[in-house]
Symmetry: C2
Subunit: 395 residues, 2 copies
């Protein structure tokens, strides 16, 4: 049975969404009582799901909760080709083994959000691997070069003089053809997927099928306000252990607290509005950040684990104990001050410099006081002032 | 045995060529005594070879005469996809049957120029039809989008706001891959093929093969100075009957006479220079045009047929007999004056108007005098003045 409760549908279409196209049409479909096929493509090139990507999966969960059929496309074929959506560089080809290995980890993580038993899994190699050159040319015929280069991401790269491999133009064809093959009614994706999702509509129309509606979810920035990126260490993944996850969330920039509530929790929007107003009015953001951390940890580890993580955090920071820290991986030569800034351990370069002057920063493994404000970070645990700690792993 | 006579090689590389790339390299190869593999792609979408295209085949013949191996790629696969080189419109897909039918006629015509028994024929469907999507993506990976849109033909269409189908970007990949598969040392083509020919170099390099050299042949304009096009009736095909061919050539614009000698005959360049100078100095171009017509007719029909065609032409025009004319096919509503201008029956609109005024233009089938200088051409034979005739077929 499909739930057609209008309030739930409005939340589904409104909360945290970037684009809904065609909205009226989708609203009508969702209200019709017909079970819809909701497509989502998994591009299993990264082993860990971060809470930004989880926001999209949680949107999928909302469809599932209303009784719709979730169809997950395992991009075992497309992953070998590479997409251009979320990068300004070419992506390397992945071997079949890597794709499969990545997907195992992915499926486990997806299970933390969706009811896997009700999901229809499809491998797109089943149809894409069998296409002939002539058939691919038929797919290519559906698109003009002008449509492709008008895509924001491609346009920017052309303007910046960055190369686009012709291979990357193949990707929207594949994703669009997937929609034809699974007869999707709706496709959802990240904020940067609108072009690929609309490609599905164009392709379905070419093959005489009904056009899918599309929905994209807003981008959730990393803890430091920049785009989430493993190389910047500003990512919270849904597999983080409770204490690490709690600690990471406590490093989220204050101004991002409302957006994190919106995209990464189930806290109702009216409450989020109250929190936002309180912070604007001068309340201590730490209070709400702790609530945020508890909410998120509870989602992935349960309420008890969230409470324990909260207590662990409080004890560590009130007693000055060295907490059990997760490795903050940094690549190559990075200044300690940069890492501290990104993780919210200091609020400015000035604060960092003052701590250096007062000999309050120590590399604990070597028991050496850091005396250079431009010091390069070494592996090991640093004490920053009295109660702040960070464990760094240089890779 | 390969002929390495330097004078022949210089003529091969110099006469009527548009681009030779890399020239020094090719000169060295040709002088080495090694038999080279000379690739030429036949795109059998048009049933008749015109003398502009024949100029490319005659260049191929020059390689063959030196003892090199001609490899003709029958584009049975690519013809189904379509190229963008010589048109500003998309080309329709051809059925396999059409491709095969076209090729039969093609082979017969090629035999008028090349020694077919020594030619290696290859069908590119043999390798292209078997490629998987993943392999095609590897080919696509070799090119950047920027390389593609920098191609003159594509650039112009983008600037003019004309659509380019993404399918058309596939064509250079195929043609380039053909060079890999047949291990071409040299590829030759028409003046507009430089991009596709260079694609072969890029593709060969990617697959670790030696890069081919490329040679393109100048464009030969139609009788009226515009690009040869069947729809403009300005085309001379190598299958034209001797008298028709002779008559067509007599309608070539005077200023094109030297270029026709250069690209469509074997007359040595020193003689062409003398002819060019004579015309510039005021000699009657008709004399040289008759020589040109005899040369070309002799190439495709033999010296006797050329002499007969010459005499037929002289008799017809001196005695005022209605010659046996070939149909000049014109599409739709075209003004008679335009057709007469294109075929050199009048030298200006003024002359045409004067002939109308003096009631010297007649539609002979209906025995009606044409009295409107803007009259639309009808099917049938027209007499223009006393001795000029044209047979029109409106299609």
């Amino acid at each position: 049975m499909v739930d057609t409760d209008i309030q739930k549908i409005n939340t589904l279409l409104g909360r945290g969404t970037e684009d809904v196209f065609v909205k009226d049409d989708l609203l009508k479909k969702l209200s019709s009582g017909k079970q819809l096929r909701i497509k989502f493509g998994i591009d299993p090139t990264g082993p860990k799901i971060h809470i930004g990507r989880a926001a999209v999966l949680r949107k999928l969960k909302a469809f599932q909760d209303l009784g719709h059929q979730i169809v997950l496309i395992i991009g075992d074929f497309t992953a070998q080709i590479g997409d251009a959506s979320d990068k300004s560089e070419k992506r390397p080809m992945l071997s079949k083994e890597q794709v499969n290995e990545n997907f195992k980890a992915y499926k486990e993580q997806i299970g933390k959000i969706l009811d896997i038993s009700k999901v229809e899994f499809r491998y797109n190699s089943d149809w894409l691997a069998t296409l002939s050159f002539a058939q691919i040319c038929e797919l290519a015929e559906v698109f003009t070069v002008q449509q492709m280069i008008s895509r924001r991401n491609f346009k920017e790269r052309i303007e910046n003089g960055n190369e686009i491999s012709l291979r990357e133009f193949m990707y929207p064809l594949m994703q669009g053809y997937d929609s034809v093959m699974v007869e999707a009614d709706v496709e959802i994706g990240g904020f940067d997927q609108l072009f690929n999702l609309k490609a599905g509509r164009i392709m379905q129309k070419h093959f005489g099928k009904e056009e899918q509606n599309v929905l994209t979810v807003q981008m959730l920035e990393g803890t430091d306000g920049r785009k989430m990126s493993t190389s910047w260490g500003n990512v919270i993944t849904i597999t983080d252990e409770p204490n690490d996850m709690f600690g990471h969330i406590m490093s989220v920039k204050d101004e991002l607290i409302p957006k994190y509530f919106l995209l990464a929790t189930d806290v109702v929007t009216s409450e989020i509005e109250i929190i936002t107003k309180a912070i604007t009015d001068g309340a201590n953001p730490m209070i709400y950040k702790k609530q945020l951390a508890k909410e998120i940890v509870a989602l992935y580890h349960g309420a008890d684990a969230a409470q324990n993580a909260y207590e662990h955090f409080e004890n560590t920071f009130s007693k000055g104990e060295i907490p059990e820290l997760a490795d903050m991986e940094v690549a190559g030569e990075t200044q300690l001050v940069e890492i501290c800034l990104h993780h919210g351990l200091v609020s400015s370069k000035g604060e960092f410099a003052r701590l250096i002057e007062s000999k309050s920063i120590e590399h604990m493994d070597s028991e050496k006081i850091v005396d250079d404000k431009n010091a390069i970070a070494q592996s090991g645990t640093y004490r920053i002032g009295k109660k702040r700690f960070i464990k760094i792993k240089v890779i």
